[in-house]
């Protein structure tokens, strides 16, 4: 017996199905989303050792390895530290479909915070965006809020 070897085709096997997950937001993170819903503002958390104010709030300061519990109210404004406008298509693992492009990915230092918060800036013309510009959060309407990061729709440039 012999077998034909020259089929001239390299096969691949495809997998295209969603795999659901359910992630715990945690105590301080839940406060963050509830504060957005009730007071339309951000909150951070201050480390008693180094004094850093982190957004989003978390239970531990990484460098100090200390438990954090001092929730600090902030506003809904900040400053652009860095940004990039995304023009290329890619699959969004959060939705399973292609993410709408172009959009502007922004690193924002919220007023009163020491670290950087990443989110979307509502401007895709790079000539109109500069490091150092002030931005203000635009939130969903309260009845549409779901207690997740998309309760913040984006940040508008205000100057």
């Amino acid at each position: 017996m012999s077998t034909e070897r020259n089929y001239d085709e390299q096969l691949t096997v495809k997998f295209t199905y969603p795999m659901p997950y359910r992630w715990s937001v945690g105590e301080h993170g839940s406060v963050f989303f509830n504060e957005i819903k009730k007071n339309r503002r951000f909150v951070g958390v201050r480390c008693p050792s180094c004094g850093m104010v982190y957004v989003p709030p978390r239970r531990v300061c990484g460098p100090c390895f200390r438990e954090l519990d001092e929730i600090v109210p902030l506003t809904d404004e900040g400053t652009i530290v860095a940004f990039s406008t995304v023009n290329y298509p890619f699959l969004d693992p959060a939705t399973g479909v292609q993410r709408p492009i172009p959009y502007t990915y922004g690193y924002i230092r919220l007023d009163g915070a020491d670290n950087i918060f990443s989110h979307i800036i509502n401007e895709t013309d790079v000539s109109k965006i500069q490091v150092g510009m002030k931005v203000k959060a635009v939130f969903r309407e309260p009845e549409q809020m779901q207690g997740n990061i998309q309760d913040i729709k984006h940040f508008d440039i205000i100057g």
Binding site: S84, Y88, F90, I149
Partner: protein, 386 residues
């Protein structure tokens, strides 16, 4: 105390964008076979194996066991290490630790990736925090682009400055028979390529590659019997940071993880003037702007001087400190293997096996790994046993 360790052999695949002719295990075996041939060893001589790749890229979780027929790890001590972009360098360091500890004499380090098997950006996004970062994060390119915009603002570097890095690395790749992209390019080509995420254009950034790399580490006393010129590990340093993007980026201070990792490695290797004392560098530069900025963090030149240092030819093949004779990451990027390729190429230089890409008389070589949200590994190799 730890004992000296030398690299005695390296192997890599001939890298391509798509290897439908092999599955992952078969591709791994190609690199392992070449490394064993280079070290004149058989798989029976290998005491332990460390392997790594990117989580979620091929949707294989237990790569250590899944891969054994390719790695040669059947019924051997084998473990998987994965640290994002740095995976290959961390794998190398773990293999080094294995041998330096005195527990194993000959250890194989393997890095591999079949980028063609998934959407690379989607797979990378799964590294970001699903509650906070995943919604806005768009993979490696825009997060690097944010660093570029901050750097350009800070020091006035231009897109043309960055293009010089792509031109240098892509042209170096012509001397490397294993490199993935083997077409020479010009500054105009880079400037005219499509804008992916401002200010990064198509030719400013690394490709997606299918490939694997394997490196054999051997103990003092064993290494000298296997090769007349081992590439001795003079220092290895690891500085890893957060997985939340806003916590790991400090644009005022630069790439802090690389500053700290390199400072520690230089100290261990007795290096005080890196640009003078290091003969060749294989740097994990996933995009062009890194080739300007990160050489400042490595201390090759001062803050804001990266573009000038490159423009003056200091990093060219005949310059003060040639960078990426292999063509670097911009020419070949099989991600889990990418940082191990830096170590392997640095070893090739010290062992004098570089062929057309050899830097004459290279005695001390630097290799780096870069990961995800700005963490770093550094490895220094030398011709003299430490």
């Amino acid at each position: 105390m730890s004992r000296p360790v030398g690299i005695v052999g390296t192997g890599q695949t001939d890298h391509k964008s798509h290897r439908p002719d092999v599955n992952g295990r078969e591709m791994i075996r190609e690199a392992v076979t070449r490394a064993l041939e280079d070290a004149e060893l058989s798989i029976k001589d290998i005491d332990a194996i460390v392997i790594g790749n990117m989580d979620h890229f091929e949707s294989i979780n237990y790569v250590d066991t899944w891969s054994v027929e390719g790695s040669g790890g059947v019924m051997k001590p084998i473990m998987k290490i994965t640290t994002g972009g740095t995976t290959g360098a961390t794998v190398a360091l773990a293999a080094y630790y294995h041998v330096a500890s005195g527990l194993f004499d000959r250890v194989l380090a393997i890095g591999w990736e079949k980028n063609s098997e998934s959407d690379t950006t989607a797979a990378i996004i799964t590294c970001s925090d699903p509650i906070w970062d995943r919604f806005s994060y768009s993979g490696a390119i825009p997060s690097l682009a944010t660093e570029a915009t901050a750097y350009m603002k800070q020091y006035g570097a231009t897109q043309e400055d960055a293009a010089l890095i792509a031109v240098r690395d892509r042209n170096n790749a012509l001397n490397n028979p294993h490199a993935h992209l083997q077409r020479p390019i010009t500054v105009d080509d880079v400037m005219n390529s499509p804008m992916l995420a401002y200010p990064i254009k198509l030719l400013d950034v690394c490709p997606r590659t299918d490939g694997a790399c394997a490196v054999v580490f051997a103990a003092d006393g064993v290494a000298q019997k296997l090769t007349k010129q081992p590439a001795w590990v003079k220092a290895g340093s690891v500085r890893h940071t957060f997985t939340w993007f806003g916590d790991s980026t400090d644009y005022d201070r630069g790439l802090v993880s690389l500053q700290r990792a390199s400072a520690e490695a230089y100290k261990h290797a007795g290096i005080t003037k890196p640009a003078e004392e290091i003969d060749v560098a294989e740097l994990y530069l996933p995009y062009t702007y890194a080739g300007l900025k990160w050489i400042e963090d490595l201390g090759f030149c001062g803050k804001g001087e990266g573009a000038k240092f490159v423009r003056e030819g200091n990093t060219d093949m005949n310059g003060k400190i040639p960078v990426n004779p292999s063509g670097g990451v911009i020419s070949t990027n099989c991600i889990g293997a990418t940082a191990l390729l830096r170590v392997a190429e640095a070893a090739i230089q010290v062992m004098g096996k570089g062929g057309d890409r050899q830097v004459d008389g290279a005695k001390t070589a630097l290799a780096t790994g870069f990961g995800g949200c700005f963490w770093s590994d550094v490895v220094i190799l030398g011709a003299q046993k430490p």
